[in-house]
């Protein structure tokens, strides 16, 4: 018990940092209605800039702190000005993807700018231990931890007062409640949002800098803090600064205590990650008890979600098949595996096309599904009596129940809340399943024996060509399925739900069943991709299936084109690490670091200017080029192969009531 309390007190430090970040997150949400998934990325940048100024260059502490916090503020201001402002009238999904793009860009910017070396905890805060007046022996507390917690408390009180008493705060609250009314009162919501973004980002910067005193900095550290931060913000209803800060500090302390029991619980239950799972438990509880917990803000929506092409022409699939086969037949062997990597990535992106593109449900857990698929495939492959394609199918099937489980909350929550739930699920899978050494072999990975099909070796190393052709076939089948779904009645139900859930329910669509089908389907496709990854790697490292990977893949899927098969393939070829384009630049820093950075920046750009993704841009360019070619050839421009106008809805559905009585028509009533 004594140790528990000791640890809880020590947890005040990280609790305080979580609280500062939470306050910043709430400020940004209240000020602009955007849940900033890049919050951890902003804190990371601030921390690294601080380290550079203070630790590497030996500048005074104050200069370092100012530089770090200023960096965070500038990032926030630029992001609001350049990205959030142009999409102020876009749906929640679009805004979330924009913040994901920023996160991907920021996290990947760290290594090229600051190198891969990890600075030690800097301990720049006074770390003398203070005797506390209770306990026997008396507890003590590091000054540094006390300082961080105090800063958080002061910030919470200051924010409360700011929003309560100042003109700026009142205006922000008014804009949150009713943007139109705030405009009528003479406030500019965008200006208010800008100030709030600056303030919120500065707070994230403070947290980043202060925490660098206590912990060793890694690029991913603050990103993972996002989960406890969101949990705390949820407890405060994304409204109350006091509640949010208190919850954050308590979470920090509780995690410190749970860390102690972690190992013994793992021995009993066989499951690691209890301390990391706590915030997700809180998120799930709060959402379950309160239903809609992040107050959705009413925006004046003008921008639609990216258009879903009515028909994804089947001939383009045939072209993909021919080009793919030619690639494996003609290109030098060193290009086989990059293409295979691209195609497997494209299968992951196909799962996003279904769940995000068609149904409009945000899922940040697709790489988690892929990990489960890889795990199941690897485990089944290790058993005897299950010849090759079987483990792959088991992998796909294994992700289905999980997809259903995670789809369940989607029946009640949507938008930001769903993003939060799936993010938490991805993190929990990572911590409790993939980090379990007994299950996944953690550092050594799981060995999968190379498959053979009909006597042909599909070893991804020695028979890279054969394996590649197999993956091509799997991709084409999955792509065909996803394209056919778009035209099917199921696809229509998907799109109807994406467009308007109330309308869909009134039109007879079961929201529950349709969403579950979508999650199961997307889960299966991701699980299939995971199985392919396992067979390609032959030694599966589950470090690939992280939360950050899920986030990155969603951002990349959006970049390629979230609503079409062509978009999935585009993303696979262009931006998957180790894929075709990445291989074009060799294994140097460009492909490993700058491509992800460009992809993150590109996502933000796409979200603002070309919501249908790169594939939309390409299609437009291609059409233009074809037209120019035809003109040069001197032929009369053939009629554009246009999207067929929506077919008149006379499919062979059910036979209706026999006689169709002629009724008066709207315009014809007066003379009818």
């Amino acid at each position: 018990m004594h140790t528990d309390i000791y640890l809880a007190i020590a947890g005040l430090g990280s609790g305080g940092a979580i609280a500062l970040m939470t306050l910043g997150l709430v400020v940004i949400y209240r000020g602009s209605g955007v849940l900033n998934f890049a919050h951890g990325g902003i804190a990371t940048m601030a921390a690294y800039v601080f380290v550079r100024f203070y630790y590497n260059w030996g500048l005074p502490l104050a200069v370092g702190i100012v530089a770090g916090v200023a960096t965070a503020t500038i990032i926030g201001v630029l992001f609001q000005f350049l990205v959030v402002r142009p999409i102020a009238d876009a749906p929640v999904l679009t805004k979330i993807v924009a913040t994901l793009g920023l996160l991907v860009a920021l996290v990947n910017l760290v290594p090229p700018i600051f190198g891969n070396g990890l600075p030690p905890p800097l301990q720049f805060l006074p770390s003398q231990r203070l005797q506390l007046p209770f306990g026997s022996p008396p507890f003590d507390l590091g000054e540094d931890r006390l300082i961080i917690a105090l800063v958080a408390v002061v910030a919470a009180v200051a924010l409360w007062a700011l929003y309560r008493f100042t003109r700026f705060g009142v205006a922000t609250r008014a804009a949150t409640d009713n943007e139109r009314a705030a405009i009528l009162l003479g406030h500019s919501p965008q200006r208010l949002a800008l100030i709030n973004w600056a303030l919120g980002s500065a707070l994230a910067g403070c947290a980043g800098v202060l925490l660098a005193s206590l912990v060793q900095l890694t690029p991913g550290y603050y990103t993972e803090l996002l989960i406890p931060v969101i949990a705390a913000a949820l407890v405060g209803g994304f409204q109350s600064f006091g509640l949010a800060a208190a919850a954050a500090i308590i979470i920090g302390c509780a995690q410190a205590v749970l860390g102690l029991y972690q190992v013994s619980w793992q021995n009993v239950t066989g499951v690691p990650g209890w301390s990391e799972a706590l915030p997700f438990v809180i998120i799930a509880l709060v959402l379950a008890l309160r239903g809609r917990s992040i107050p959705e803000r009413a925006f004046m929506l003008n921008r639609p979600l990216p258009k879903v092409p009515t028909r994804q022409p089947m001939w383009s699939l045939a072209v993909m098949a021919v080009v793919g086969i030619a690639w494996y037949a003609l290109m030098p062997g060193s290009w086989d595996n990059p293409m295979t990597t691209s195609l497997i990535g494209a299968v992951v992106f196909l799962s996003f096309v279904v769940i995000v593109g068609y149904v409009g449900q945000i899922s940040l857990v697709q790489m988690g599904f892929a990990g489960v698929g890889a795990l199941a495939a690897a485990k089944v492959a290790a058993l005897s009596g299950f010849p090759f394609p079987v483990p792959l199918l088991v992998g796909a099937a294994a992700a289905v129940p999980l997809g259903l489980l995670i789809g369940l909350p989607a029946l009640r929550v949507r938008g930001i809340n769903l993003a939060v739930i799936t993010l938490g699920a991805a993190f929990t899978l990572e911590q409790m399943l993939f980090n379990d050494p007994s299950l996944t072999g953690l550092d050594t990975g799981l060995v999968v024996s190379a498959p053979t099909l009909f006597g042909i070796s599909l070893n991804s190393v020695t028979g890279a060509r054969a394996f590649g052709l197999f993956v091509l076939a799997v991709f084409l089948l999955a792509a065909l399925g996803v394209a056919l779904i778009r035209r099917s009645p199921l696809g229509m139900r998907f799109l109807a739900i994406r467009a308007n859930e109330r309308g869909a329910a009134a039109a007879g669509i079961s929201i529950v069943r349709t969403k579950l089908v979508a999650f199961a389907l997307a889960g299966a496709i991701a699980g299939l991709a995971g199985g392919l990854m396992a067979y390609q790697a032959l030694n599966v490292s589950f470090a690939e299936f992280t939360t950050l990977a899920s986030i990155t893949y969603l951002s990349l899927a959006y970049l390629g084109g979230i609503t079409s098969v062509g978009g999935a393939l585009t993303a696979g070829i262009l931006v998957v690490s180790g894929g075709v384009v990445s291989n074009l630049f060799g294994t140097g820093t460009f492909s490993t670091t700058w491509i992800p950075v460009l992809a993150g920046l590109g996502t933000m750009q796409i979200v603002v200017t070309q919501p249908e993704g790169l594939v939309g841009t390409n299609a437009a360019l291609l059409r233009g080029a074809l037209r120019a070619l035809r003109r040069r050839a001197g032929r009369a421009p053939a009629p554009e192969a246009r999207e067929p106008e929506a077919q008149a809805p006379v499919p062979n559905v059910r036979e209706a009531q026999a006689p169709v009585p002629e009724a008066k028509t709207i315009g014809g009533t007066r003379h009818g």
Binding site: G503, A506, G508, S510, E645, P649, R654, K664, T669
Partner: protein, 247 residues
């Protein structure tokens, strides 16, 4: 004026019977013990001032809001807690005051989805709805490209494509001018004469008084009175509650 009911034998028995329906939001009774029936071929008006609980009433009947009490039966089955989609399959279909169309789909797709997704819906019903609402020329346009007035017709057509037995139309003529509104009323009248039961929630007194068989008046969540247009027109309580004391 009156026409024979269509060949569908179900329509003869289709009846919506609502008894003692209540809805509360955090202790506030938005709808308070309302009784209402709609029979096949009947056009019933539900009127009331702003905030009287008309839309909430429709939400509760069609499964979009959980009622706090009361009973709804439709076609001789208790449907009080049915999901909206299940009710639509059974033939209880609604439209929305705010339309709730599928904005990024075409007009034709909006209607086709309802025709395919609802069990009673059919391509024939969809065709007929398109014809009735004169949407043929804009079937290929996105909903957002269609002017507001015609969007109301798209919403009506989508509901009709599901082949309803009873249609709950929530302010279908809102925002239309008096001519268009009268046209709308005539179409609804025609549909009712063919056997469709309609509950028309409306703000426009003239429309309701001129087209409905029976009118119920909702004030502050409770039913004030119910009767023929002539009775309601002369009812003192209605005049003072709805039209204001000056009238």
């Amino acid at each position: 004026m009156a026409r024979q009911a269509t060949a569908d034998p179900q329509q003869a028995t289709a009846q919506l019977v609502i008894t003692g329906l209540s809805v509360s939001f955090g202790g506030v009774k938005a709808v308070n013990g309302v009784d209402l029936n709609v029979g096949a071929g009947e056009l019933v008006g539900l009127i009331g001032p702003n905030g009287a609980g008309k839309s909430t009433f429709v939400d509760a009947v069609t499964g979009f809001v959980k009622p706090a009490g009361g009973h709804v039966s439709f076609a001789d089955r208790t449907t009080t807690r049915w999901a909206p989609s299940r009710l639509a399959h059974a033939g209880l279909v609604r439209t929305f005051q705010h339309l709730e169309l599928f904005d990024d789909l075409t007009v034709g797709e909006n209607i086709a989805i309802a025709a395919r997704s609802s069990q009673r819906g059919s391509s024939v019903a969809a065709e007929r709805a398109i014809k009735l609402c004169e949407l043929r020329d804009i079937a290929g346009l996105l909903v957002t490209q269609v002017p507001a007035g015609r969007r109301r017709l798209v919403a009506l057509a989508r509901a009709l494509a599901a082949s309803p037995l009873i249609l709950l139309a929530d302010e279908p003529a809102a925002g239309l001018d008096s001519h268009e509104s009268a046209d709308f009323g005539a179409v609804l009248r025609g549909l009712a004469d063919e056997g469709l039961g309609i509950l028309l929630i409306e703000h426009d007194m003239n429309l309701v008084l001129s087209t409905c068989d029976r009118i119920a008046v909702l004030v502050s969540g409770s039913k004030l009175t119910e009767g023929t247009p002539a009775e309601v027109r002369t009812n003192e309580a209605v005049i003072s509650a709805y039209l204001g004391r000056a009238a």
